[in-house]
């Protein structure tokens, strides 16, 4: 029966009012609500109060959301009581809660490093944060100088970030493709803007924003078209229903019987959906935006993107593949094998010759995406748990690393060229040691968080029969180790440049970020049992 005939019959069935479980959705609602409050504050508060107020509100909101996540987890929504919310469009289960927790943690740290105002010298007694005084002013123009003098600040970044966080919280929890698409855009659009807001080197910043925006929307189009095809195949956007259609257990309508025979719809849709997600996780060959955007964006934003986006995107990737497509894993696994291998190898090899520390970390994040993909490919519970744990470790260490990058500065702002990092270990051994610790964790040296994560994903992959992937993984780890160590060599065993950068003593905000990251690196490396258990308990998707 077509829709037209349905409407014509005049016998419109009553549409049931949607049932919304506000309590269980509270983490996202709190964040969105805080973001709205932030907009209002922006509108009504005097300029000088905005910064403290926005930071405070943002942190408060995130803390509230985190508390909500904790409460939900304690109440068992991550395990036995997990279920579907909002008419089945949002899932509340272990992976969702775990990743939401991680995203909120990462956001808290990101907000803290946004709030850092002690790094750039004050201008006319006004402390300078990492963001441009007035985004609309042309770089280097008169208007910009005036704005700077006047102590303008783009405090809109906090609500923007909160919107992004809200989207990210929703993304891994989305149980249908519609919600997922909306979540994708909700967290992407603020990020495009955030990229453009750097105080220094605004040309690069704007360029990063343009690139990110164009490529991001390009990939969204693929995602959307993929969704459309899958809808065409299965008649539904719901992930479980797609799975049912694939396995043939769905109630058969005539149209469905027709389309489910057309595997091309399914497979092309799957591939295009995967493109959208792989773009967000920065897998090769959809990675090209990563180095440029990471380099150009304001460093705190880069940290936030690198950490939280990856977590959210992997969460969605896991859910899509584990909930919707387990029935066709023999089709997508070989392809994902190829992507994983390409990502690990290309990320590691390309990083070898990088000269900019932010680009280096970008390529490193690509390589890590490859390692994470091996966990996704495992297609077993251990794989889920391993990816969850890896994301936790990776997110915290990444934020720490980017926060550390913000501290190395010369007269033009952050000194990200590697040559200016030479001899940093002699000028500032503490920072160099901390950064070295992060690098060692990235490199997967035992007793650091990175090693535990790597071990977890590799063993899951091996258990899933992907031994060759593991071998490629360890070999590219060795290549990756090379460039991490190159930085360490540079910091500790090279002569400092005569006019090299100085390390600025940060305020409590950045110091907190770095301390938390160090603690996480060590705790997740030395005593990861609790978090592994947590990830393991959370490794069951609800359908």
């Amino acid at each position: 029966m077509s829709l037209m005939t349905l409407a014509a019959s005049g016998n419109t069935p009553s549409i049931p009012a949607p049932q919304i479980e506000y309590g269980q959705l509270s983490p996202m609602l709190i964040v969105f609500g805080t973001a709205v409050v932030g907009i209002l504050l922006e509108a009504f508060l005097p300029r000088r109060l905005r910064h403290p107020a926005q930071v405070g509100v943002a942190l408060l909101g995130l803390a509230g959301a985190f508390a909500a996540v904790l409460v939900l987890a304690i109440q068992g929504y991550g395990g036995t009581r997990s279920g579907l919310l909002a008419m089945g469009s949002v899932a509340l289960d272990g992976p969702a809660l775990f990743l939401q927790g991680v995203i909120i943690l990462a956001s808290v740290l990101a907000v803290l490093s946004y709030a850092e105002r002690g790094l750039d010298p004050r201008i006319d007694g006004v402390p300078q944060d990492p963001f441009t005084a007035q985004a609309a002013a042309t770089p280097g123009g008169e208007q910009e100088q005036l704005a700077t003098r006047a102590g303008f600040a783009t405090t809109e970044v906090y609500p923007l970030t909160l919107f992004a966080v809200g989207g990210m919280l929703l993304f891994p929890a989305a149980n249908d493709l519609l919600t997922m698409f909306v979540a994708l855009e909700v967290f992407s659009l603020p990020l495009y803007l955030l990229c453009a807001l750097a105080r220094r080197r605004r040309l690069l910043s704007q360029e990063a924003a343009v690139k990110y925006f164009l490529l991001g929307s390009f990939s969204s189009a693929f995602f959307l078209f993929g969704s459309a095809l899958l809808y065409g195949y299965s008649g539904s956007f719901r992930l479980p229903e797609i799975a049912d259609a694939i396995s043939g257990t769905a109630p058969i309508t005539p149209a469905l019987a027709n389309t489910t025979q057309n595997d091309a719809l399914l497979l092309i849709g799957l591939a295009m959906l995967a493109v959208g997600l792989l773009f967000k996780v920065a897998a090769v060959p959809f990675h090209a935006w990563t180095p440029d955007v990471y380099q150009g964006a304001p460093t705190p934003v880069t940290g936030f993107m690198a950490a939280a986006t990856k977590v959210a995107a992997f969460g969605a990737l896991l859910r899509v593949f584990y909930v919707a497509f387990p029935g066709v894993r023999w089709d997508w696994r070989p392809v994902m094998w190829g992507v994983a291998i390409l990502t690990m190898v290309a990320g590691a090899v390309l990083a070898v010759t990088q000269q900019d520390v932010k680009r280096l970390l970008a390529y490193s994040s690509i390589a890590h995406a490859g390692f994470l993909l091996t966990g996704v490919i495992a297609t077993n519970r251990q794989g889920i748990a391993a990816v969850l744990f890896y994301l936790l470790a990776y997110a915290l260490v990444t934020l720490g690393a980017f926060a550390a990058v913000t501290l190395v500065r010369d007269s033009r702002g952050e000194a990200t060229h590697l040559s200016s990092w030479a001899g940093l270990g002699r000028r500032s051994p503490l920072l160099a040691a901390v950064f070295a610790l992060f690098l060692l964790s990235f490199a997967g040296i035992p007793l650091t968080a990175g090693f535990t994560g790597k071990f977890a994903v590799f063993q899951a992959a091996a258990a899933g029969g992907a031994i060759p992937l593991v071998i490629v993984g360890v070999l590219s780890s060795a290549v990756a180790a090379f460039f991490y160590i190159r930085v360490i060599v540079l910091m500790f065993f090279s002569d400092p440049q005569p006019n090299g950068p100085a390390v600025v003593i940060p305020s409590t905000a950045t110091a907190t970020v770095i301390s938390v990251a160090v603690a996480a690196t060590l705790v997740l490396g030395l005593a990861p049992q609790y978090f592994l258990d947590l990830a393991s308990k959370a490794s069951m998707f609800v359908r």
Binding site: L178, E185, L193, Q206, L214, S220, G232
Partner: protein, 99 residues
């Protein structure tokens, strides 16, 4: 008319949009091509909705439109600001960062 033809049209539009992204230099045109891709998807969605006889696809199309509108806001803001800086909307001029 067989609804499948709409699907072919959607695929064609999508491809045209993608080709436009690859070929055109002007950021605005590039962005319009992306919009074209989104609308191609919308066409597909609506077609499938009709095919399956449920409303999900049409609802999705509405959402897509909203999202596209939001994207335009953000995108134009970014493109305009970079145009003001560089006095050029050519994406090929933005390659300070590479390698």
């Amino acid at each position: 008319m067989n609804p499948v033809n709409y699907l072919y049209l959607a695929a064609l539009l999508f491809t045209i949009g993608a080709a436009g992204v690859l070929i055109r230099r002007n950021a605005i045109v590039l962005f319009m091509c992306v919009e074209l891709m989104l609308n191609a998807s919308n066409l597909a969605l609506v077609t499938f909705s009709r095919l399956h006889g449920n409303l999900d696809g049409q609802i999705m199309a509405f959402f897509t439109m909203v999202v596209a509108a939001a994207e335009v806001v953000v995108g134009l803001a970014i493109i305009v600001s970079i145009f003001r800086t560089r006095h050029s909307a050519s994406v090929d001029d933005s390659n300070l960062m590479k390698l």
